[in-house]
C-alpha cells in the first residue's frame, strides 16, 4: 500500500499521515510546542537499498546535532484502538554511523513482513504493509526516563501515573527494574512509591552499557517534584490535544523534559468505564517506615487519613491486584515456613516463585517486599482475585506476625486491623 503523496526522507517536525501513526503523533506534538527530539522519517516507499535513498538518509543524519540515534518503526494504521501490530515492538537504540542507521532502518521497515503481522492483519481486517515508515531520532542521553499514563492502569482514574528509572527508557519499558511510581492526582496531590532501580542503561562512548545503580541513587526518587508536576501537566496537555488517554514515553536530561513517544491507551483499568472520583490518597511513601530509603524532603507531608477508621498504616507498596481483605499476617521467609500457612491468612514474604503458587491460592491476600505490578505474585494474585501489594520493602520487619491486618490492593496499603477486623474474622 502507499502512504499519501509524500515519499522520501521527511523532517519529523512536518510529518503527517504518510509517515505512519507514531511519527504523525510526534509531528502533532512537536508543532504544539512539546519538546520532541529532532529527527526524520523514512517513508514506507523508500528502500534504503537504493543508493540515492541511502544518500538522502546520510544527509538527513548529518543535519542532526547528536551522533547516536534511536530508530523505530512507525506503524501505518491510524486508529490506536486497532493499531497495526506490525512492527509495534521494533526499535533499535543507540545507533551510531550511517551504515548502522541504514541497517536499522531496513530492519524496522520490514518488520511488517513477519508472519505474525500478516496473521494479525487477517484476523482484525486491517491491511498489512509490506514496509512500514521508520522514525530516526536523536537519542536523548537521559538522566532518567520512563512512561507516564494519563489514566491510572490499576484504578482507571484520571490521575497521571509515572514510572521512572535512571538512564535510558528500556529499563522501565521492558520491565527490567522496579521503577519509582509517582501519581499526580487531578487535585495536584502527589503520591510516590520508591522503586529499587537496581540497574541502568546508558550510552557510553557510543555504546549502550548497563551498569549497577549506586545505593544512594536507588534510595532517592529520580524526578524532582517540580519535574514530576511539569511532566504531569505536559502529559495532560498532550491528552487534550490528541483527544484520547495517552501512554507517554519521556526522558529527562538536566532540566530538559523530552517527549519521545505518545501512544493511545487502548486498555484502562477495571473502573475506567464508570465515572471516577479520584481516590483521596494521603501522600504516603513506602519509604516512610524503612530506614534505608528516606522520604525526599521535597514531598508534602502525610496529610492523613481517608483510610477506614480503626486501621493504622503499617506499610505501603505498589497496588497490584485490587480489592481489600483482612486476615492474620503470616510471615513466610522460605519454603520451610509453608507448613504454618492456613487458609485465609495474609501472606507476607520477600518474593514468590513457582513453589509459592499453591500458597497464593489459599491465602486471603499477598504482600511482597520486592517486585512490581508485573511480578509473579501480582499476576497470580490478579488471576486468583485476591488483593496484592508488592514492592513493600521492609514488610517482613514491620508487619507483626499472627496479628490481623488489612490489605488494600487498590491503594497499596497494609494496615493494622483493630476491632473491625474481628467482625470480619469472626462473623
Amino acid at each position: 500500500m502507499t502512504y499519501g503523496v509524500r515519499v522520501g526522507v521527511i523532517d519529523l517536525a512536518v510529518s503527517d499521515e504518510s509517515c505512519g501513526a507514531k511519527a504523525r503523533q510526534l509531528g502533532v506534538l512537536g508543532r504544539a510546542g512539546f519538546d520532541v527530539p529532532a529527527g526524520f522519517v523514512v517513508t514506507a516507499d523508500v528502500s534504503v537499498d537504493d543508493p540515492a535513498a541511502a544518500e538522502q538518509v546520510a544527509q538527513a543524519l548529518d543535519r542532526l546535532t547528536r551522533r547516536a540515534v534511536a530508530v523505530r518503526s512507525s506503524a501505518g494504521s491510524e486508529d490506536g484502538a486497532t493499531a497495526s501490530f506490525a512492527g509495534q515492538f521494533e526499535s533499535v537504540l543507540g545507533v551510531v554511523g550511517g551504515e548502522a542507521v541504514v541497517a536499522a532502518v531496513e530492519r524496522c521497515a520490514t518488520s511488517g513482513r513477519t508472519r505474525r503481522a500478516r496473521s494479525y492483519a487477517a484476523r482484525v481486517g486491517v491491511p498489512t504493509e509490506e514496509r512500514v515508515p521508520v522514525i530516526v531520532q536523536q537519542l536523548v542521553e537521559a538522566d532518567a526516563s520512563g512512561v507516564a499514563f494519563t489514566r491510572d492502569p490499576v484504578t482507571g482514574s484520571t490521575s497521571v501515573v509515572v514510572n521512572a528509572s535512571w538512564g535510558l527508557g528500556p529499563s522501565v519499558v521492558d520491565g527490567i527494574v522496579t521503577p519509582d511510581t509517582m501519581t499526580v492526582g487531578v487535585d495536584g496531590r502527589v503520591e510516590c512509591i520508591l522503586g529499587s532501580k537496581t540497574s541502568r542503561l546508558d550510552l557510553v562512548e557510543g555504546r549502550l552499557q548497563r551498569s549497577d545503580v549506586p545505593p544512594g541513587d536507588r534510595g532517592r526518587l529520580c524526578l524532582s517534584t517540580a519535574l514530576l508536576r511539569r511532566l504531569a501537566r505536559e502529559a495532560r496537555r498532550a491528552e487534550r490535544i490528541v483527544g484520547w488517554p495517552l501512554d507517554v514515553e519521556w526522558a529527562v536530561q538536566g532540566d530538559q523534559l523530552w517527549i519521545l513517544q505518545a501512544r493511545p491507551i487502548t486498555r484502562t483499568g477495571p473502573r475506567a468505564t464508570t465515572p471516577i472520583t479520584p481516590p483521596v490518597t494521603p501522600m504516603t511513601s513506602m519509604t516512610a517506615v524503612t530506614p534505608v530509603t528516606p522520604v525526599t524532603s521535597t514531598m508534602r507531608p502525610d496529610e492523613g487519613t481517608p483510610r477506614a477508621a480503626g486501621d493504622t498504616l503499617l506499610i505501603s507498596g505498589t497496588p497490584s491486584s485490587p480489592g481489600r481483605a483482612t486476615g492474620p499476617a503470616r510471615l513466610v521467609h522460605d519454603v520451610d515456613d509453608f507448613v504454618h500457612v492456613q487458609r485465609g491468612d495474609v501472606l507476607v514474604c520477600r518474593t514468590t516463585d513457582p513453589a509459592w503458587t499453591p500458597l497464593l491460592s489459599v491465602v486471603a491476600a499477598a504482600v511482597t517486599e520486592t517486585g512490581g505490578q508485573l511480578s509473579h505474585a501480582a499476576i497470580v494474585a490478579r488471576e486468583l482475585g485476591i488483593p496484592a501489594v508488592v514492592g513493600a520493602a521492609g514488610a517482613l520487619a514491620v508487619v507483626p506476625s499472627g496479628r490481623p491486618v488489612v490489605v488494600d490492593g487498590s491503594r497499596g496499603t497494609v494496615s493494622h486491623a483493630v476491632a473491625r477486623a474481628r467482625e470480619i474474622l469472626e462473623p
Binding site: 494479525y120 509453608f338 505490578q373
Partner: protein
Amino acid sequence: MTYRSSFDLLTLHAVRLTGFADTAAVARRFGLDPGAVLTSLEAGSRAGWVTTSTFAELTGWSLTEAGRRENERRLEEELDRADARGAVTAVHEDFLPLNGRVASTLTAVQLAPGDTQAREDAWQYLTAVAAELRDLESRLTAPLGRFAGYHARFATAVFRADEDSAWLSSISVDSCHRVWFELHEDLIATLGLTR
C-alpha cells in the same frame, strides 16, 4: 554435543520447577518412572533436601532451603560439565526483555477482562513469543537436553488461549504464564541467580 542430565538431578530439579507437586507430577516433569522417582525423593527427604508439606488441605513435595542449595550446586556442576554456561547466559540475556513484555501483555488482559482487542493483541504477541521461544529453546537444548519442552508447552497454551483465555495466566492449567515463569525459574536456578 547434547548433555544428558543424571536421574537424581532431574528428580530434584523437577521438584524445584513444579514448586509443589505430588510424586506423579514430579515424575511427569521429565518423563521419569514414578516408582524410581519416589525412591529418589524418599532418599532426598532423608538427606533433608525435599519435604512433603501440607498446608491448608494441599499436600506436595517441595525443596527445603538446603535442597535449593543442593539443587543449585548440582546444576552448576552440570553446567560446567556440559560446557553450557555461555549458551545459557546468552539466552537468559535475550529472555529478560521478552520477559517484561510477556508480563505486561498478560497483565493488560487481566486488567481489562472484557476487552476483546486486548485479548487479540495479547494472543498475537504471544504467538510471536512462541516463535522466539523455539529459537531460545534450541540454543539451550544444543548443549543441555533437559531444557526441551518449553516451546511445545507454551505454543499449546497460546493455541488453547485463542478459545479459552484461562490458558493465558490461570494457575489451574499449564498456561502461558505458568510455562513462561517456569522457564524463568529454570534459567535463574541454572545460573545460580536470585530473582
